[in-house]
Structure formats: C-alpha cells, structure tokens
Subunit: 402 residues, 4 copies
C-alpha cells in the first residue's frame, strides 16, 4: 500500500504531539475526525490520501519522548487524556523512533535558551545543515516506501531575519548556502531548501518569515513542491476573519479593534521575547487593515501568562460607529486550546499538498489561504471567501463532478 | 422631480423617528450615511432613488409628536442628540403633518395596553380598515406626486395568529375581509392588502407572522408589489449569522449556543408579553439550526430590562468541541442601539424595492435576505452568502456593467 | 484516637464524591488544602478536628459506586483526574462500604425520575423513614467509634413544600410524623429529625426549604445539635456578595442586575424542573435586595445546558447610574466547577460544627453565614461582613488568644 | 455665611469640569447626589460643609473656557448633556472667572506637548512658582471670604521624579526651592508647598509621585493642612479592591490576574507616553500583591484608544486554582466614564478635609484610603476594610452619637 509521509519540524512540540496522538486515535477509531475539513462532505469524491496511510516522522531539537510530551499536555490542558495516552502508548513509541535530531542555525536567544535544547543540533554552515535534513528526509522516504512527502514547520516562532541580497533568487540563496553565509538563513530556511531538494510539499505553519522567502518559493516551485503558509489560523484571528467582514458588509465604521492574547506554554515563553513576538504580531495584525481599511485603530498584543498553558485566551473589543455617528461596542472572549485547533489543520494541509503533489501541481496552493493568518501572497483574509475558494478547488478536483 | 414615498407603519416609534431624523440629517449634509449599504460602492451604477428624493409619511396609533419622540430618544439612548434635534426641528414638524392615525384590528392585549394608544384607531371590520389605509396611501401619493411608494411595517411585534383557512389564497382572504372575519387578520395583514391594492412595495421589518401570509404574498405579487421580510437583522442575530458559519467551516462541533437578549423601551415592554415574545423567539432561533444543524442545544431568550432603553445588550455563549473531543468556549457581548442599526436598513430596503418596482419586478425580493432575521422563504442565513446574493443583484442591475 | 464522622446525604453525587476523593488526596499528602478556610491561618490555635480524623459515610438513593462517580466526573469536568482515581481507588472502595440506601419521601417527579433511582428507597411513612436513618447513623457511630457526627444534605434540590401546621413546632412535627402525615415532610425533613435524635450536627447545603423548618430547628437545638444552612455559596452568588457592596459603598445606584446561570449535570437536570428551579431562584435572588434595596431590577435565571456538565457558567450584567445620572455598565463571567468549589466548604462546615458540638454549642451557627447563599435567619449577605463574623468567632475560640 | 473653597489644579480638565458642572446641577436641584458618599446616611450628624457653601476656583495651564470643556465632554462621552450645559451656563462662566493660569515646572515632554498649553505658564524657579500659586490662593480666600480651603491636584499624570536629597525633609526642600534646584520639583510639588503655606487641605487625586514626598508631607503637617492621596480609585482598581479579597477569603489560589485598560481622551494621550504610564501602572499594580501575595502573575496594562474618549473600558482575567488544584476562571468588563466616577470623590474629599481642618486635624487622613488606588502610607487596599475605616471615622465625628 502506497503511503504518504508527514514530516513534522518540532516533532515533540504541542501541535506535533497532538497530530501524532490524534492520528493514532483516529486510525484506531477511538475518536471522530472533529476539526478536519478534509473529512467533511466538501471533499467527497476527492482523491485525498486516507488518514490510515499517513506515516509521521520529524525533527526535534529538544530532548525527551513523545510519551512525556503527551503526559505534559495532559497535565497542562487535559486535551490528551491519560486513558488515551495509555491506549496509544505503542503508537507514540513507534513514532518516536522516526524522530531525528533537528537543526538550529542562526536561531536567536529565545530558542537557544529553551529548556532541554540539545546543543548538538546547532549548525554553523547552512550547506551542511541542508545536507543533514535532506539525508533524514530521504531515509524516511525509503524506510517507509513513501509515495509522497510533506514537510510541516511546527517549531517555535523565529525572530524576523534581516534582508539579505540572497533572499530574492533561488540561485543566489544556494550560492550563499554553499559559501556559508549563515546570516542569510534561519532554521526554517534550511528545511524549505531540503524540502525542495527532495520534491516534498512544504507547509509553513508558523509566522517565521525566513521560511517562505522569494528564493525558497522559487526553489520549491522548481523542485515540484506544492507549498502553503504562513501561520496557522486557529484562534483570535480565525474569529476576526469571520467577524470583521460583518462590519464592512453592514457599512458600519469600525473605529478601534483591540485584541489581547494571553497564553502560557513554550509557545508563550518564546513570544515573551520581543523579537519573536514582533514576528507574530505583524502576522496577526494585517487582517483588519485588509478587511476594514487603514483608518481603524488596530492593536494586537500578546502576553505570556504561564498558568494558562496551551489554553489560549483572547479578548477583543470592537468599537464602531453606526447611523448618525452613534457609537457602539462588541466584545468577545475566545478560550481555545491551541494544539487542538491546530492539529487537524496540519492533517488537512498534509493531505491536500500530498494530493496536489501527486497530480503534479507545484508551487503556491492559493486555495489553502483559509488555513493561515498570513496567507502567502494573498490579500483575501475573510473566512467566507477563503472557504469558497477551497470549496471551488474541492469541486474541481472531485471525481464525482467530472 | 419624481419622488419616492416611504410609508412607515409605526411612524413615531423609535426606528421610524430615527429614519425620519436621519434622512433629514443626511439631506442637509449634517451626517454621513454610515450604515447604509446602498451608499457603498456595491451599488455604484445602480439606478436607486436618491436619498434626497425620498418623502416620508406614515401611520401611528399612539398620540404625540415626532419632536417628542426624538427628545425621548435623546433622553434614553442619546442616539439623536439635542443639537441635531434643534437643527432639524422643521423637518420633524413637516413629517408630522404626513402622519395619519393608524389602524388596530385584533391587536392583542400587549399592544392595546401600551401607554398613549389612541383607542379611536381600533377597527372591527377588516374591509373598512383596508379602505382607510388605502385612502391614506392614495392621498399621500397624490399630495406628493410620488412616482413610487414603499410601505414598511415598523410597529410593535404582534402575537402570532391562529391558522385560518383564508390564509392560503388571496381570493379567500379578500372574501374573509369582506365578510368581516376579524380573527383572520391582524393589523399588519391589513397593511399588506392595502399595499397590494395600490401597487406599493411592502417590507415586513417586524417578525409579525400575519403580514406575509401565503395569501397576502399572492396579492402583493398580483398587485405588482415587490416585497421582503421578515424581522430586521440588527444585533445578536446579525453576529450569529457571521459567526456560526465559522464553526461549520472549521468542522468544529457546536454543542450549545445560548443567547441572552436584554432590552428596555416600548419594544422590550411588548416582548415582556409571552405571546409577542414567542413570535420574536421563533424568528431568532431558526438560524442556528439552519447553519449548524439540529443537534445543537440552541436557546435564545429575551428579557425586559427597562433601564437599558434601546441600548440592546446580548450575551452569547458558544460551547464547542474540537479535535479529540476537546471542549472549548467562545462568548460575545453585543451592545447596540437598535433603532440606529435598523434605520439605515429601512432606507436601503425602501430604495431597493422602489427601484425594483420601477423596473416592474414584483414579488419576493430574495436578494434582500441579508436584511432579515427570518428571510422569507429562504433557508440561507449565513451573512456572507446573503451578501454575495445582494452583490450579484447589484452587479446585474448596474448600468456600468451592462 | 477519637474520630469525627461526616455523613453525606447524596453520598455518591458530584459534591460528595469530590469530598471523599479530596479527603483521601489530602490525607495522603497528594494535594494541598486549597479552598479550605479552616486550613488558613484564621483558625490557628482553634481546636478543630484534624482532617485525618474525619470518617465519611452516607446515604444514597441511586445505584452505582463511588469509583463510577469519580470516573464520570473525570469524563465530565476533568476535576478528578484518572491518576488520582487510581491512587485512591482503595479509599473510594472503603468509603463505598459505609454508604447505605437513602430514603425518599414525598420526593417529587424531578427526583423520582432521575436515572438510576433505587425505587426501594421510597418510603410512605415518615416515622419509619426517620427510624431507618437514625439506625444507620447509630451504626455508623458505633462501627467507627465516633466522638461526634455531622450530617450534611448534599442531595438534589427539592421542590418547596406547602405550608403545614406541623411545621411551626417540634412537638407538632413529631406528632405528624407518628401519624403518617406524609405531606408535611420531604426527605430532607427526615434527615434533620434523625440528626436531632442522635445529637449530630446538621448542614443544609442545598436550598431545600423542608430541611430547616422552625420545627426541625427547634428539635435540633433541643437535641444539642449545632446546625447551619442553606445552600452553599459557591459561584455567581459568591461574586455578587463581594461585588454588590461596592456599588452601595460608592453611592452608585444600581438600576438592573441580570444574572444568567448555565449548568449541565444532574444538578442542572433537576433544576430544569420548574418547581425545583423556583426553590433555587428564590435562594439566589434575595442577596441583591438585601444589599442594594428593592428598587433594583433584579433577575436571576438558571438554564440547563447539558454540555457544560459541572462547569457552571454565569454571566451577570450590572447597569448602574453615577454622578449626573450617567449610566454605565459592568459585566462578569464566572466559569467554576461547582463540586470543586463546594467540597472544601462541606469539610470546613463539618469541622466547625463538630468542634461546636464538642464545646456544647447547639443551635444555629450564625458565624457560618459566609458559607451559604441564604444564610438561615440572617440578613447579612455581604461577604466582607460575613468573613469578619467568622474571623471573630475563630479568634474567640482560639487557645492562643485566651 | 462662611464658605469653603475648593481649588482645582487642572481646572478645565474633564474631572474638574464635571465637578464644577455637577456642583451647579446639585445646587440648583437639577440632579441628585448619586456617587457622593458624604451624602449617604453614613455621614448623618457629621458637621460637613454643605454643598451649597462650596466655592470652586483653580489653576489651568491650557487655554479655553469651561463652557468649551463642557461641550467637548458632551460630544465625547455625553456625560454632560446639552440641556444641562444650557441651564448652568452662567455658573460655568462665573467659575471661569475664578480660574488663573497654572504653573509648569520640570513638566516633561508629554505634558508640554499637549495641544493648547499656554507656554507662559512655564517657570524656571521653584520659589517664584510657589509664590505665584500662594498669591492666587490667598486672593481666592480673600475674594470669597473663605473659612477654609482645599487644593486638589486633578492635572495630568506626571512622570516619576528622580530621587533627590531634598525630598526627605521639609527644610531641605525649602532650601532647594530657594536655591532654584529645579530638578527636585515637579508642578505638583509646588502646589503642595503652597497649600502648606496657606494652611489649605491638600488632595493628590493623581498618581504623580512628586506631590506627596516625605518633605511635602512634613510641610503640610506643620502648616496645619490635612492631606490625602494618591490617585483616585474610580474604575478597574475599585473593582479589584472589592473582588480580590473574595479569593483570599475563600482560600482560592489566584494564579494570574491580567488587567487591560483602554481609554482615550487627554488622559489616555498622556498615558501613551511611557514615562507617565509607568507612574500610573505602579499605582495600579500594588493592590493585588498586597491582598493576594507576591506569587500571583499580576499584569496591568494601559492602552490609548482614542475613540473611547473618557469611557474607560477595562477587561480583567482572573485565573485561579481551587480544591484538587482544579483551575477555573473569572473575567469582568468595566465600562465607566472616568470623570463621572471621579468628580463625586473629589467633592467628598473636599468636604472631609475642610471639616478636618476646622477641627484642627492636620496631616494624613488615613480614613480616606477608600478614595485612592495607592492610599498614602497605608497597606489596606480591600474596599470593605477601607469602608469600615471611613464609617468608624464618621461615627466618631457624628454629633448624634456623642
């Protein structure tokens, strides 16, 4: 049976552990596929790889086991319960065997100072780093006789990267790689190049801007890799993308949109670092401007609140003006478990990109905008339009409609 | 200059007063048309009657003047400020001249016991009531040399009406009217028949179910009247129609959707009556079922909180399940001034129906679903789809695209 | 070693199971005594029975085991985790041995129709019911060589009971008991009489009004039983008792206080019955009137939302007027697990009543008002004053201050 | 008739304008004294100066009139309505006559760059600045034949001031004043010295730390001036002081308390400056630590949201742990108009300090802690204890209890 590989970068982090545990729970019939768009009727008749054919491996830069990660999640948000962990213990152990030490290059203080980082993962030369990742991917393909492969970046948000002349063209980036110009790369850049080299699909599920540079996108396209990004749309931004169009469609004038995000967890710890938070904030902020225009007083903030763990809480205040300039308000509170919201999107994207790859579709998967806070090269942020684009794509690729 | 007439039933109520005051403010350039969809670029090139050509008249069953209504609104919600009232005092007085005593038939205790109801408005015979309304409408047309006319029901929510054999066919309803079968009618039924008789457009902006019966719809269509309803979508339901699709589009399973509505005002006073509240509640509840299915524990309640006045407050709790059956919550608070949100929709609808009438389009205006909580004979409740339908209609009727 | 007995009526319900599991967790050092007021410095030097000397038994009218209850709580709110259940399994089994079939008399449809009710628990004659309860209590005392005993009513909220001439005096109630006038009793009345007969302390932790009738209070006092009630203050009402005084102390005029409570669980199921809900609502409503006066538009509602389980959610809107009659609002959302909030209060009350009993203090324990929504014969509802009363009591009874 | 003077520093700002307009409305019987604690029964029998005997004057550093300020407030928050402004126009004009140009010394960029600042108010020499203020105060006393005077600082929050050797002792501060050591002073320091010099009561209603230095407090006490501060407790902090004790009194462990404050207005504009915001934040933060201990993750933030004007909005999230370490949450939203909440407190304080002065009580008025976010030299932050202290003081000074 031909298998589809899913390679997770940050393979024992919260989202990855939830992907792996969830896939085991789905395969064994213990859980229903709630949250998976690709399991809805929208994709009836589309030739997506079945969930049972997915094989997961990955890279990780911290020590520990998947079992420990799952137990930590149980203590934190309770989203993976003890009973489930016991039932899928063997699956977790088997997946652990497919996880290799990741690479760290030009990684920045926030990430390097995380507890449990394996300092052996640090690399000084981009070409060597690419070579190692590429080797691991090829071994994964061979060992599991994979028909196709998708690489997903699920690691911590990186700081932004200074502009570099090599970022514009693939050939310049490869040349900078070979000459060891380490400042042109972050870890996510390395993974994108390696994915292009092996022709794997590539998902930037983080806001890290060094992943989808013009140069890496060119290499991915040339390598036959479908790709999509950036930054999974899982919570507050998801709500905004459903709600902001309402004000526009009613000709109501939004004066101010204040968004406050609180989270704990390793994710929150990283975002407590100013550099890394800035990457995230600019990813979160652009939606309001695109949907409601530049006049809105639009602020997003993120605070690290350790006790919340992965139970992200967001509170938004929307102050708006209606007829006769009368002012009114709306506010919402979102309390969502981030990994639980993100994991099914990763599985959806993996199936969509694997299927696209098999059909020979490389390059940017524009219909995947719905999955991202900052859809790559796309100004459409409203959820309904994004959903329609995905539905149109599904219909076009459905055997039942042909 | 050809004028368009807008006849408001409940002409000194909160919404009508805001429509009249707002129109005066817009005509004089004192305010911008915030909240008016027909003033957005969506309708560029569409031949809608200009706002300055609208003439407003109406029926009212209570005593008092528009000036008093405007002052009461100023005291209550502050949405029509003293300064504006002073500036448009002459317009209010002029509009007052065009308001006639309305009719009350089979009206129910809640409405009859309102303070200030003019008991002379009560009618016992439906044919006489229709004749009076028709006469008032024809006088309004002649006095103002109107090219077209739209009647909008903005009066208090009526109790539901018991099924009656005359409700199915126009001919049977007319026969019941002539034979004085008063129990087959409520006041809103009378207005619908009169609108049909004069070929006026007809808007049921309330949930009152006696307005758009199969029989009245048949008469309206036969009379060349475009019509639309029911129940203006202004607050909590508007938000739900933007937000509920998000859960469906993300394959998240909504377990419970609790909606609590609080309002004061005459509107709230009427809805404190069980019979009238039931009419409203069934209008508000159907959306969740249509968008999210029947499994959702879906409750809407309305409470009369006098101190809030027209500043309607709604709080909704959404309890939902994601991947691995993990449960999460979202909640929102909406604080909106109802008349401020409703008035521009009434102006939008009046313009759309007047233009349709001129083009000879009679019958149900399906593209107007976006304006209503319970769009008539329409199962599409999600805001984005409704907006698309309206946009398509605008494009089809735009001279610039032809 | 002299032991103190705690007899729980409704011994396998959510609160009781949490009391039993929590006590086992505390005794074994697995958990800290968070939520227990009697473990704070306030009670330093007071001669309260140590937690390790508490022995728990009880009555239950439904079938099942404590282990099953604990597992159901784990599935529902996750408040008793699998790991803890495994660790204290032997304690749960041992406690199960001390639980006897309870009694049901004049119990009402809501309770009788609960799933799993053991119909053998139904009694027709109050004297026989009292005799059975008394026998079980005496056996519990003997088997465990208890020095003192406290009975706590933790069963479902009963409907109110019609006034009956026997409710005023102890002697009349005993006579009605002997002559089998079943309509003068509900189950909670039986327990109160039995507690009086054995000289046990008595806690009405529910709002059930048939427990603390003038007649039962007289019997308890005569029997040397300290008692306290009614209706544990655990969530929305707790917040109100802290917040409402603020408005009074600032001379701000509260216009409206709307409180919406949502809960699932057996508790919610019972309260979905109109009769039983009324009992609860009148218990919850009186606070605002006592603290802020009768002018406030004060509404409390309770809705059954099954998916919430024991995670009670309350949303309150407070609309108030300040200087120059300007209106402002405050709102709060409380999301609390009811059993988790209630269980430590039960332990606190048990210790306080046991100690009072040993000191020969019988009758109403007024300083316990802080624990209740409707403190018995007490008009002090504000939390700070209640806390002060408890602190004064603790100081008076502390050996270190004498 | 002996009059009491109230001298407002920042006399045309939002709070001052509301004090002046409100006092006129109260004197004329147009409004009730909602929000005034000194008008409740708590102060029955206390010899406080009647409201009608209060005369208001003040200093202001910006140009404009009280009428313009009142109109701006009407446009912004609507808290002073047009109708009222018209009715009290003469009072506003009369008060305007009693307002003198204020002083600015070492004032900082945020304040100096405010629109409309009169640059003539800038002073370089502290002794001259004190002399001018003192002269204005003496003139005010003489012109109005005042029996007593209270000076209240209601101007914008100043940045903190660097420690200076002259801050510890009165004599050193006077010497620094005479030798022109401008860096030891901010404008509020000048006002405190002048108040001491004329024996006036002194209220620091802002958080500005340069007002109540050890040296100024010593001078005030020596001058026979009663004083109180700092930073009026009007909104989010007021709620916290009522709510935080609840968690302590229930032995619930607060893990995190996140507070987000949004405001527009000149106040918000000033607080958008980092230096000035820091002054405010440290004033707001200390309460949680004092009531709940140092372990709480306690964050307060303030954001400038212009559209909100003076309608301050705060949202707080409280994450806490109960029995069995179970985690729960509470959240609240406060929407209050700041000047409306502050103005009655200023009147209360003025009356209390004037009465104290007449009785010869100088120095810190500890019983006034309830009015402040950072009660001076006082660790009691919980509202109930503060209220009790005020009530005890009222009782001691009531003629009816003597």
């Amino acid at each position: 049976m031909a298998s589809t590989g899913l390679w997770l970068v940050g393979a024992r982090g919260g989202i990855s552990t939830t992907v792996i545990a969830g896939l085991a729970a789905l395969k064994s019939g213990r859980k229903k596929p709630t949250g998976l768009i690709t399991e809805t009727t929208l994709f009836d008749g589309c030739d997506l790889p079945p969930l049972e054919d997915l094989v997961v491996g990955g890279h990780e830069i911290r020590t520990g086991t998947l079992l420990e990660s799952a137990q930590a999640i149980n203590s934190d948000s309770g989203s993976i319960r003890s009973e489930l962990i016991e039932a899928i213990r063997a699956d977790l152990e088997a997946a652990d065997e497919r996880i290799r030490p990741g690479i760290l290059i030009n990684a920045g203080e926030a990430i390097l100072s995380l507890e449990g980082v394996d300092q052996d993962c640090r690399h000084d030369h981009p070409a060597e780093a690419v070579a190692q990742v590429e080797k691991d991917l090829r071994t994964f393909i061979e060992d599991n006789r994979l028909e196709s492969l998708v690489v997903a970046i699920l690691s911590s948000t990186e700081a932004s990267i200074a502009e570099h002349p090599a970022h514009s063209k693939g050939i310049d980036l490869l040349s900078a790689m070979n000459s060891g110009e380490v400042e042109a790369f972050r870890s996510s850049t390395i993974y994108a190049i390696a994915a292009a080299n092996v022709g794997a699909g590539f998902i930037n599920f983080t806001p890290s801007p060094a992943a989808l540079l013009p140069a890496t996108c060119e290499l991915l396209e040339a390598g036959g890799s479908p790709y999509a990004g950036s930054d999974g749309k899982t919570g507050e931004t998801l709500v905004k993308s459903a709600l902001a169009p309402m004000f526009a469609q009613r000709a109501l004038k939004v004066l101010s949109w204040q968004g406050y995000n609180m989270l704990g967890d390793r994710d929150g710890e990283i975002l407590a670092h100013e550099e890394n938070r800035q990457t995230k904030l600019s990813s979160k902020g652009e939606l309001i401007e695109h949907i409601l225009g530049e006049d809105v007083h639009n602020q997003v903030s993120i605070d690290y609140v350790p006790s919340l763990g992965d139970n992200k809480t967001a509170w938004d205040l929307i102050h708006f003006e209606g007829f006769l300039d009368h002012r009114m308000t709306m506010q919402f509170t979102w309390q969502g478990c981030d990994a639980i919201l993100a994991a099914p999107l990763v599985l959806d994207l993996a199936r969509l990109l694997a299927a696209a790859g098999k059909r020979g579709e490389s390059g940017l998967q524009k219909h995947c905008a719905i999955f991202f806070k900052s859809p790559h090269r796309c100004r459409i942020h409203d959820l309904a339009s994004q959903y329609r684009a995905l539905a149109d794509y599904a219909r076009r690729n459905s055997s039942t409609t042909s």
